[in-house]
Symmetry: D3
Subunit: 328 residues, 6 copies
C-alpha cells in the first residue's frame, strides 16, 4: 500500500495513505436541528510528523475507530490553523501487517551502523573473557538483538524512537570511555563498559513491542525496567556457571543503581566507583538528549525562547551567540 | 562452658563467663610516668543486656581483641556509674562454637511456636493450590526454614532479634487478615497472605548469618533485601512451570513495592489493591514495633519521657493515664 | 414528588424527576445570526449517578439557576457520547424540602446498622466508666447522633457519602481492635477505642450540613476539624468535673495528633502509644478507601488500568490475577 | 542568703553563694588504686552567666544532687581553660524558696515598664469595646498577668528569658502597627492588635513555671501552645456571651495560624489578611531576635565570625562596616 | 486618538478606542458549509480592566494581529457571559507612539509623590556621606530615575504596575525603618536604608521597558535581577574610588542575599544583621501585596471566599468580622 | 630549616622539623594535687599526612600557640594508638617565610604541566578570536596565572589541594570536549571550552591565599565564587569594548548557572545548551573526585567498606571484583 508521508502534504492535495490515529474526539453540532449528531476531530501521525483532520460525516454502524489504530485514509488537504485534512474515508488496518517504519520515529543513525558499533565494542574493545561471554550470551541471540535494536530508551523525554535504546546505550558507552580515560587506574574499564551496554536491557520489556506509540507494558508498569533488567541478567548468568560471584554482584549493583537515587527509582544508591561512573554517564546522556529534544522541537522562526518545558521546568534560549571565526 | 548472664551480675561477684565485645576503646593514663601506656574501656554484651568493663593491664603481644569478638571473661564486679566489671583475663573464643542463644536477643515468642503457626497458615489457611505449592517450595526446605527462623527483620529499629523476621512476618499476616475482613470481596485473600509471608525473605541474605551483631552482608548493602527477595521468588518459580504468569506478576509487584514509596526503597509504588494492602500492613508492623521498642528500652523509674529517639524524631510520653475499671 | 433515579434512565425515556445541578455552563451558538444567544450544558446528579444534559432554549427573565441547586426536570433522554437529557423544563426547588437521600451518595451499610454497632461498642465493649460517661455525653444526645450519622468523612478522597463518618469511625475502631490484639498489654484498649470513636467528630462541623455537595463550612476552612474536635471534647469534658486530668490530656493529644505529621495538619506528632496506634488506624482506613474508591469508579470493560488518579499519583492495575481454587 | 553573681567571680575568690546545676557528670580517676572512685564535673549557672566547677571528693551517702537543682555552694575560684570553681561544699536548696531573679535571665526592659505599655495598648489604643472586654477578661486578672509577665517566649532560640513573652508580644504589636500604617484601610487595626497581644498566651502553659530552666510541661509537649492558646481563648469567650461569632472565628483563626505553615506547627494556613499580617509580624520578631541572640552570645574579641549556629544554619559576620558620619 | 477606558463600557455602546490584545484565539465554524472558516475570540485589555471580544469576519490578507499588539478598535458592546465587544474593525498601532498610561496599570500613589519621598530619604534621612554619594550617583541621573520610576516590581504576584518598583522600594524602606526603631543600636540605619533603596534596581533591566505586558528581557531570564543589580552597583562604585571596601562588601552581600534563601534565588544566605533585616522587610512587602492583590481582584458580591490562588495555595476569606466601634 | 615529612616518622625517632598545628586541646590532669594544671593534646600536619602529639609541660608565659600556626617542633616519636610525638619544644614560625609546599597537599600532576596544557587549549584549541582575546586577558597576566595555579577547587569534598583549581578546570574541559564530540553541531565548542576554563575563577578569591588550610575569605563567604567570578568577567570584558553583547550574555549565564540548581547556589538554572553542558561537566568532575577521594582516604587493609561519608551519605565498597584477563 502506498504511503504519503505527512510532512510532504500540502494544501490542495488529494491523499490516499496510511496513518496512525493519535487522538480522536467527537465534536457536537451546535444547531438544534442536528442535536445529537457529531463530527470527528482527529490528530493523525506518522514517522514524519502530525496533522489535524476533521471528518464531518463519520460512518455509522461500522467497527469503531479508536486512538492507537492504524488506518487507511482518503481525503483532501486544506488549511485551518495550519494544515487540516478533510476526511472522506477511514478504514482500520491490521497493525501487524503495516510497515512500522512508516509510523514510528527512528534514531538519526541507522540501526545497522549502531549494531555494528555495539558488536565491535563487545567483541574487540572489551578484553575480559568472562564479560565477553556474558555479552555474547545476549547479543549472540538474533531475536534478542532485533528486539534490542527496535526498542526506544524512553516513552517521552529522551531517545523516544525506534533505535533509541541502541543510540542511548552507545552514548553511555562513549561517556564511560571518557571517564575511564580521565581517571586512569581507578575504574575497571571492561566492567564499566559491560555495565553501560547492559544497564537498560530491561527497557526491551518495559514498552509494548506491538504498540506504535511506545506504550508501557503491564510488566513495565508493575515491575519496571530496572528490576526486569536484573532478572534478565540473573537468567543469563544462570547459564554461565563459571561466572564469578563477585563480578555478578558488581554487575547487579550497577544495574540496580544506575538511576543514582532512590527517588529516581533505584532501590539502592551506587556504592562502587563503577556504579557511580555508570550513573553519571546515564544521567548526562539522558539529560543532554532531553534538553536537545526541546530545542529540536522548537519551530524555526518562532522566537528566541522555546515553549515552557514542564519536565525541565524552564524555557530554553535558542537565540545563541553567533559563532564567528577568523577566516583570514 | 558455663555462662552467667549479664543481667544476673551483682556487685561483689567473681565472674567467669562468655560475652561479646560490643565496644572497645583505649584509655590514656594521664600521668607522665605512664605516658604511652593505656587501659581498655569495654562494653560487653549478651542476650540479657550490656555492662561496662575496664581492664587496667591489657595483655601485651597476644592476638588483638576487637569489637565483635566473643571472649572468655574472668573478673570481678564493682560499681562505677552503675555496674562495672574489672577484668583480669580476656580470651578470644571460636565464634562458630559458641551458643548463639547466649549472645543474641531473641523474639518474645519461641521460634517453634511461630514456625508452627506459619506452617498452619501455609498449609491450612491458604486454599489456592498454586500458592501453597510455592510456599511449600520455600518452607518445605528445612535449611531454608532454619535460616528464615533465625533471621532478624531489621538491624536496628524493629524486630532486631533472632526470630524477628518470623515474628514480623506473622504480624504482617495478622494485619493483612484484618484488612481482608474489613474489605470483603475486594482483596484476593490467598494472594495477600502469600505476599505477606514472602515479602521479606530477602532479609535472610541481607544480614550476615555468622554475625552476632546482625551486620549487613555485602550483598545486603549492594543489592538490598527487596531485590534479593524478588530473585529468590524468581528462582523458585522457575521450578514451578505451571505457575501462571499473571500470578507471578502480581507477586513480584507485591514484593518490589512493599516499602510503598521510591524514597523508602521500593523501585515502584503499589499499583494493585493487594500490594497496597501489604505495604500498609508492613508499615504498621514496623512502625508499631519501632515505637514500642523505644518504650521498652526506657528504664523503669527514669521519668515520664523517654530519651529523644532520632529515628522517630521525638521523645515518647510513658506517664500514661492510669486505667481504672469499675470493680463492683 | 416522584423521583426517577438517573441510573435507571434509558434512551427514549420521557422523564419528570428531581436532580441536583452539579455543573452549569453556557454554550455559544456559533452562527453570526444567533450571536449572543446561548444554550445550557449541564451535568446533573443524584445519589445513583450523573448524566449530561443540554437545554437549547433556556428560560429568560426567570430566577437564575446555578450549580448546587436542586431542580425539577422535564425532558427526554437521547444519546450523545453516552446518554444525554434534552431538557424542556427546569424549575428550582426548595432544598430544605427535598428528600436528601435522593441526592447524596450513602454508605454501603445502613446508618441504623452502623449506629447500633457503635452504641454496642460504647456501652458494652468499653469498660472504663469514665470513658463510657464521656461517650454517653456525646452519643446519648439524639441531635448529636443524627448529625454524626449524616456527616461524610471527607469531601472527596474517602468516605465521601452520607454515613461516611460513621463508616470510617467503625473501620478505625476495628483496626484499633486488631492492634490491641497484636500488642497485648501495651495499649490502653478502652482509651484507644474511645479515641477512635471521637477522633473525627470535628468533621460534623467541617462540612455544611445543608449542602448537598458536602461543601466546607467557613469554620471548617478557618479552624479545621482537628481543632473543632478538640473544642467539642473540651466542652463536653467541662460538664464532667470528675474526669481525670491525665485522661483528658491523653484524649486531647490523640485527637490533635491523629493525622500523624505536622504537614498533614496535626499541630503535634503522636507521642503516646495510643495516639500512635490511632494515627495508623486512621491512615490505613483512609488510604484503603481512597484506593478502593478509584477502583470502584473504574467502569467495567474499560481496560486493565484505571485513569490516572492525581491524589494517589498513579493508575491502578485492576486486571488482577484470577483466583483459582481447587474444587475436587 | 547572700548571692554572689557568677559574672563577678575572679581568680582567688573564696565564694559562698547559690547557683543552679546546669550539667553534672562524673569523672573517673584513671589510676588503678582509685579505680571506681570518681569526682564531679559541673556546669553552674545563674542569671549572670555560667562557670565550670570540679568537686574532687563528692559527699557519700547524702541525697543525690542532679541537674536542675538549686544548691548552696562553697569553694574557691582558680583557672583551668578559663575560670573554674573547686567545690568544697554543695547543699541542695528548696527551689520554691530561692529568689528566681538570681537564676533566670531577664528581659532587657523591666517587666513593670512592659506591663504598663501593654495595659495602655489594651485600654487606650484599642477602641472596639468587644475586644477591650476580652482583653480585660485576661489582663484584668492579676494572677494571669503575673504568670504572663514571668513566662519566656521560647525555650531556646528567641526571647528565652523571664519577661520574654511580654517583650515578644510588644514587638509583635509594634510590627503589626507598622503594617496597619503601611496598608491603611486594608486591615482591621483593633482585631490585629488584639490578635498580636493574645497570639502566644498558650506559652504560659507550655513551659513549667516552676522550672528554672524553662522546661516544657507535659501539656506543652502533648498539646502545644497553639492549641492551648485556642482553648484559653474559648474559655474566656464562653464568659462573654455577647461576643459575636464572626469575631470569635477570626480570632481563633489568627491564633491557630500564627505559625503560618503546617510544617511549622499551625494546623491551618492564614486565610484572612489579619491572620496573614499577624503571622509575618510574629515571624519577623522571632527571627530577628534569634539572629541578634547569636550575635549577642559571640564573645568580644573572638573574631569577625560567630560560631556556626545550627538553627540558623550559618555563621554570622560581625566585622561590620564601620559607620562614619560626617562631623563638620 | 481618543481613548474610552474598558471599565466605562456598557451594553449598547458603539466604541472607537485603543486596546492591547491580551489573548487571541481562532474559533472554528462548526457547520460543514463553512468548514475551514474561522472567527476570532479575543481578550482585550487596558489599564482599567479587561473585556472579551469576538470578530466574526476577520480581515484576510492583512498583516496578522497577535497577542501583545496595541490596536485601534471599532465595534459595539453587547452581553454574552458578561460584556462582549463585537468587533467591526481592528488595526495595529505603533506601540512606541501610544500613551502607555492607557494600557498599563499604575501604582496607587503618583510617581511624582513617590519620587519626592525617595529623594527626601536619600538626601535628608541618610546621613553617611559615603552612602549619599552613592545614591546620588544613581538617582542624580535623570535617565536612571525615569526608568526606575516606570518599572514594575514583579511581572505578576506583587507590585506589577508602572511605579510598582518605586512603591515596593518605599514600603521596604518603611519596614526597615520600623526594624531600626525596634532594635536600636543593633542595625546600621544608613546602610540598611541604602540597601533597601537599591536592593531591586536590577528589576529595571529584568523587564522589557518596551513591553506593555511587563515581559522579561533576555537578560532578565538569563542573568536575573539579583546579579544585574550587583553589576550595576559594582559599576557605580567603580566611579567612587573613595568608597571603602568593607562597605562595598556589605552592600553587595545585602543585594545578593535579599531573597533570603538559595531556593528563592539568592546565591548566598544573609549573614549580617543588615542583610537579614533587609530580607525580612522585602519578604513582608512582597507577601502582603500578593495577598492584598488577591483580595483586590475578588469581585464585589461574589461571596466570602476568593478564587483559589495557585501562588498562595489557598482561597482567602473576605467575609471578615464587621468592625463595631462604640459611638455613644 | 630542615624538614622531616610526617609520613617518614617512625618509633624512636628524635625529630626537629616544621609542622602546622591542625588541632590543639588542653587536657586536664586528673590527680587533685595537679588540679588546674594541664597538658596539650595536638594534631600536627604537613603535606604528607597527620600525626598526634602530646606536650606534658606546656611553656608558660609565652605567646600562645593556636590552631593554624606553623611551628618549629622538637620531640621524640613513640606509640599510642598509632604514632605519637612527645613534644619537648614548640616555637611559632613566621608563616610568610615557610615553604608552603611542605604544608599543603598538592595535585597529582605538576602545576607546570597543567599550566602548559591550559595555555595550549587557550591558544591553539579555541579558534574564536574574541574568546582567545578574553582568555589572554586573564591568563596573559602572570600574577593572575600564579594565583590561579595555587588555588584549590574546594575546601573539602573535591580537589582540595594546591593546583586543585587547575586540575578541576582541565577535567571539566576534557568532559566538555567529550560532549561536543557526542553532540556534533549542537554545541558552540569554543564558547563551551571558554566557559569551562573560566567557570571557577571566582574560587581564587573565595579562599584565603595566605591560609595553609584553605580557609574561606570574608568575601568568599559573603559573596561566593559564582558572583565573584561574574564580577571578574565583567571587569575584564569592560577592557574589551569590541566584545559582542550576546557573547557576554551567554558567558555570564554560563558562569552564574554552572551549579545547575538554585538550591546548589546558582541564582538561575541553565537555559542554553552550552550552560547546560557546562553544568553537567562540572558536576561529573566534582562528584567523581569526591567519590574517588573517599576511596583514596580508605587505609589499605582496613576492610572492604570505607567509613561512612556524610557528604555522599554512604559507605563505599572497595572490595571490587578482581580483573582477570585471558593470557594465553
Amino acid at each position: 500500500m502506498k504511503k504519503q508521508m505527512i510532512s510532504s502534504m500540502k494544501i490542495g492535495d488529494e491523499v490516499e495513505t496510511q496513518v496512525v490515529i493519535l487522538e480522536l474526539n467527537k465534536g457536537l453540532y451546535s444547531s438544534p436541528q442536528r442535536s445529537g449528531d457529531f463530527f470527528l476531530k482527529l490528530l493523525l501521525g506518522d514517522a514524519s510528523g502530525k496533522v489535524k483532520a476533521v471528518m464531518w460525516e463519520p460512518p455509522v454502524g461500522e467497527e469503531a475507530i479508536a486512538a492507537g489504530d492504524v488506518v487507511f485514509l482518503r481525503g483532501s488537504v486544506n488549511q485551518y490553523h495550519g494544515l487540516q485534512v478533510v476526511v472522506n474515508e477511514l478504514r482500520k488496518l491490521d497493525p501487524t501487517k503495516v510497515n512500522r517504519a512508516f509510523f514510528q520515529p527512528v534514531s538519526e543513525r541507522t540501526v545497522e551502523e549502531m549494531v555494528a558499533e555495539l558488536k565491535c565494542i563487545c567483541e574487540e574493545e572489551i578484553k575480559d573473557k568472562r564479560l565477553t561471554s556474558l555479552l555474547q550470551g545476549f547479543f549472540g541471540d538474533d531475536a534478542f538483538l532485533v528486539k534490542f535494536s527496535l526498542a526506544p530508551a524512553a516513552r517521552t523525554i529522551h531517545h523516544n524512537c525506534v533505535g533509541g535504546l541502541l543510540e542511548h546505550t552507545l552514548e553511555v558507552v562513549a561517556l564511560c570511555r571518557g571517564l575511564v580515560d580521565l581517571y586512569p587506574g581507578q575504574i575497571n574499564r571492561d566492567l564499566l563498559l559491560t555495565g553501560a551496554i547492559l544497564h537498560d536491557i530491561g527497557k526491551m520489556e518495559e514498552y509494548r513491542q506491538d504498540s506504535l506509540r511506545f506504550e508501557f507494558s503491564d510488566r513495565g508498569k508493575l515491575v519496571g525496567h530496572i528490576s526486569i533488567g536484573k532478572e534478565m541478567l540473573d537468567q543469563k548468568l544462570a547459564e554461565l556457571p563459571e561466572f564469578p560471584a563477585d563480578l555478578k554482584l558488581e554487575l547487579e549493583h550497577m544495574m540496580l543503581t544506575h538511576h543514582g537515587q532512590r527517588d529516581w527509582g533505584s532501590p539502592e544508591v551506587p556504592k562502587t566507583i563503577n556504579a557511580f561512573a555508570l550513573f553519571h554517564a546515564d544521567l548526562v546522556s539522558a539529560r543532554m538528549n532531553q534538553f536537545l529534544g526541546v530545542i529540536k522541537n522548537h519551530p524555526e522562526g518562532s522566537g528566541d525562547w522555546t515553549e515552557w518545558d514542564r519536565f525541565l521546568e524552564r524555557s530554553i534560549f535558542v537565540g545563541a551567540a553567533k559563532e564567528e571565526r577568523d577566516e583570514a
